[in-house]
Symmetry: C2
Subunit: 213 residues, 2 copies
């Protein structure tokens, strides 16, 4: 086992995928699954599944496969999604509002505990969930008070860096950034970007160059 060797970033992404498929398999009543079947469901190579899991332990039974429920639980533990997380979101426009009512977040233990904006017209607005839009000036206090662990950025690009800096100053060092701009953060801060237009650019590139449209 190579539990100590460096783990590819893509491995973590795939673990999340495996976990989701295992939930579906469990829901469908499956008790065991082979690396081949799980790999097929996730559109990856079977050896890839086994290697990915191999970084973290031996979860299977030779000649049989993996216990669906158990493997799911193990992966959740590895990904640290065997507990809930508190999110704060800044920038309550169309996208921010949509994320606040996005069912898949609470279903997976990701709970928005605070929403921030700088627009006086929005501040104070109460959502049906009970969440109130706060002034970004209150961000640092709210982080402490509500134990915000992850900051979500849905502001316009021009102000995104400033908001990230506020989160950093409040010791939130994990950021999920939806703003299509390059955010600069220190080593100690984790940032994941979700960039819609980059994905569209990749599609158009391939349409032209692979499909010849």
């Amino acid at each position: 086992m190579n539990r100590d060797s460096k783990i590819p970033k893509a491995t973590i992404t795939r673990l999340s995928l495996y976990c989701r498929q295992l939930e579906l398999l469990e829901f469908d009543g499956y008790r065991m699954v082979s690396s081949e079947k799980l790999a097929w469901l996730c559109r990856v190579n079977p050896a890839q599944v086994r290697k990915d899991l191999g970084y973290f332990g031996e979860f299977g039974v030779r000649g049989v496969g993996y216990d669906v429920r158990d493997l799911k639980r193990q992966i959740k533990k590895i990904l640290a999604i065997n507990r809930d997380w508190n999110l704060g979101i800044a920038g309550i426009g169309n996208l921010g509002t949509a994320l606040l009512s996005y069912q898949n977040f609470p279903a997976r233990g990701f709970n928005f505990v605070a929403a921030f904006d700088s627009d006086p017209k929005k501040i104070g607005k109460v959502f049906s969930s009970g969440l109130v839009i706060r002034d970004v000036d209150e961000l640092k206090n709210a982080v402490k008070e509500l134990n915000i662990e992850i900051g979500v950025i849905t502001t316009p690009p021009a102000v995104a860096q400033g908001i990230v800096d506020l989160f950093l100053d409040a010791n939130v060092n994990a950021i999920l950034n939806f703003s299509p701009t390059q955010i600069h953060v220190p080593e100690c801060c984790l940032i994941e970007n979700i960039d819609f237009t980059i994905k569209l650019d990749v599609l158009t590139y391939k349409l032209k160059n692979e499909l010849g449209i």
Copy 2:
């Protein structure tokens, strides 16, 4: 020059990033930029910038750097974003609605020309933009009529595959999928996934394992 060698997928992603930074540089009045500066802005290695560009041609001047305007134009041409694209979106919930009013899409030439849902309560609704929500049954006709080139999926996971199949049947073979599920498509179809919860899972994994939270 290695224009013929296989181009890494990540190169395309970075070209999109370079393009955006070049637009900002142009806006700020810069005429020339070095690979070192562009690399710094995008948080990549300068050699990476030069190699990425090298796949497509020689765009720089030795000892000087790259012409900001010209390089931007060249990259737009490479990515095929030097023209507009017609999008159709299926699943007009919170996320779908947010995307329909997302300013960054039309600003970059990505225009929604049709919206689809299967909920009778939503069908017929008219947005301020003039766009009408159509029945998914009309999808194939609308694709032809409106020349939809890219399908955007914002439906619940359970029905996402079915909608993708409708797009495929209508000869739309580029899909931007926001639904957190594994979509199966034939070789000839391009699909890019935007998966919010996977990104959150990556963050929580790193919070636990890199920052030790």
